[in-house]
């Protein structure tokens, strides 16, 4: 199992760098992951999405897709792409310390 070090703590992640144990995540870790993904400052709007991702994961066992985020998080799909330019669902899931959202087949 690969690992990564965030905020001085070693955490297990999957091959693509998503947390496999979301309970190990902390907000400073989120900030560091965001920086590594090219998002220098996490604004209140970012945090709205990140917290929503974690709540949804806790309730449903998977993070939402972009479309569901756009319908339910209070942040439109357009704004989601402005906040997380390289794919909001995946980027926000990574920053939020939850596993990669299960896509549909």
């Amino acid at each position: 199992m690969p690992t990564a070090t965030y905020d001085g703590t070693l955490v297990p992640v999957d091959d693509e760098g998503f947390f496999t144990e979301p309970e190990r995540w902390t907000e400073p870790m989120g900030e560091q992951i965001a920086k590594e993904l090219g998002i220098d400052t996490l604004t209140d709007r970012h945090w709205t999405v990140i917290r929503f991702m974690r709540e949804q994961y806790a309730a449903k066992g998977t993070g939402p897709t972009v479309r569901v985020l756009g319908k339910t998080s209070g942040v439109s799909v357009k704004e989601l792409y402005q906040l997380f330019p390289k794919g909001p669902a995946k980027t926000a899931a990574k920053i939020a310390g939850i596993p990669k959202p299960r896509g549909c087949i």
Binding site: V68, T72, V77, L80, K86, G87, R102, G103, C104, I105
Partner: protein, 413 residues
């Protein structure tokens, strides 16, 4: 008088379920009512062939009530909403029906108007879809008029039914333009919101290889934000552009509208979030969903509805008998992918196992993940099987609900 089962929707899943239940239970044990808003059952896999003149539109349509066995009540009505507490379904024109067990089988709805510009200028002219019958016919005429230029096949966002159909369309377009002798004047592009040609790595690799060999450009992680029909541009949410002269778009999908009007029934997209293995709605043991209407991470395909049906009928039986459910649906899907030039490839997978090479249904059988003429014949034979075996609720000998493991070769991606 026995219990009353109400099945909402008489498409692939609803019709199969009604007929399977009718075969399994006597009329004195179980009353079965099926509700649908119209009487025309369209063989949807045939829609892929209409644009290329390979299927005649009228040949794909049959009467819905005629597909139901004797002893199944058919009610033509538009569903307005379900009251889960009162166990009652209300119709749009007035009237209602009460149930002991409810099966939601109202499929997926196309939502083209939810994408900016998609139904604006150019819709039906240079921007089309083959996902419904009028669209497929319109596309046939548009292709006939097409003399060269840029064609893009685009999936707006997931989930969509039959996720391989857009790929098949791209493969067949390559074949069609070659046959017309104008392939060198056509640029073909396949744009998808996924990070590969398909979700699962082994299949994605094989299918993107096929695209490459056929000279079809692959654009990945392209989530459709806007369609500019006049300017001939598809624009993604991350502001990339794909130019086109003809755009073949698979619109956003959602569940039936009434699901949204029925408190506690649907998720954000109008699909019914049932248990992935029992197909039962959590906290509502008398409510089940099957087929495209179910909010599962399984493919939305007729084959999936067929495999789900076996589990569903067993579960309904156990529920009626007051026994715990044991039916366990594994996400099994099985798709013929038409690749043009009278060939197709077969894929077979479930929740846990991605499409793998080998043979189906056992070590001796149709090749998996490899183009063959046999698979193409299988795809064509499927239409007969659909009307005469699957819809009537018969089981296919040797092909059960659980995905077969024998015959599969596990390869690292």
């Amino acid at each position: 008088m026995g219990k009353h089962i109400v099945i909402l929707g008489s498409g692939t899943a609803g019709t199969m379920t009604a007929n399977r239940l009718r075969r399994a239970y006597d009329e004195s044990e179980l009353r079965i009512t099926v509700v649908d808003q119209d009487d025309s059952h369209v063989y949807q896999p045939g829609l892929l062939f209409v644009p290329f003149g390979l299927a005649q539109p009228h040949a794909l349509v049959r009467s819905r009530p005629h597909q139901l066995h004797d002893g199944v009540d058919y009610r033509r009505a538009r569903i307005d909403r379900v009251d889960l507490d009162a166990r009652t379904v209300y119709f749009a024109v007035g009237g209602w029906i009460a149930y002991d067990v409810l099966v939601v089988a109202t499929g997926a709805r196309l939502l083209p108007e939810e994408t900016e510009g998609l139904t604006g200028p150019g819709w039906g002219e240079n921007v089309l879809t083959f996902y419904d019958l009028p669209g497929a016919v319109g596309l046939h005429h548009a292709l006939e008029r097409f003399e060269g230029g840029r064609v893009v096949v685009d999936v707006a966002d997931m989930p969509v039914k039959c996720p391989v159909a857009p790929l098949e369309f791209a493969f067949l377009a390559d074949w069609y333009f070659q046959r017309r002798g104008i392939r060198d004047r056509v640029e073909l592009t396949y744009a998808t919101p996924l990070d590969g040609a398909f979700t699962k790595p082994v299949a994605a690799k094989a299918l993107s290889g096929l695209l490459e060999r056929k000279g079809i450009e692959l654009v990945t992680e392209f989530t459709l934000g806007e369609v500019d029909g006049k300017g001939g541009r598809l624009v993604s949410y991350d502001e990339r552009e794909v130019p086109f002269d003809l755009a073949v778009v698979v619109p956003l999908h959602g569940g039936a509208e009434y699901v949204e009007r029925s408190p506690g029934l649907g998720d954000e997209l109008g699909f019914v979030p049932v248990d992935p293995h029992t197909l039962q709605l959590p906290d509502r043991p008398e409510v089940f969903a099957i087929g495209d209407a179910a909010g599962l991470s399984a493919s939305k395909a007729g084959s999936v509805a067929h495999f789900e049906g076996e589990v569903l009928v067993r579960n309904i039986g156990r529920f009626l008998a007051g026994q715990p459910l044991d039916g366990s649906f594994d996400g099994h899907a099985n798709c013929f992918v038409e690749t043009g030039f009278h060939r197709a490839l077969l894929i077979d997978f479930n929740y846990d196992t991605e499409p793998l090479p080998g043979h189906f249904p056992g070590p001796v059988g149709l090749p998996l993940m490899k183009e063959s003429h046999a698979a193409h014949l299988g795809k064509l034979a499927f239409e007969w099987l659909y009307w005469h075996s699957l819809l009537p609720g018969r089981e296919l000998p040797g092909i059960g609900s659980a995905m077969p493991e024998r015959g599969k070769i596990h390869l690292p991606a």
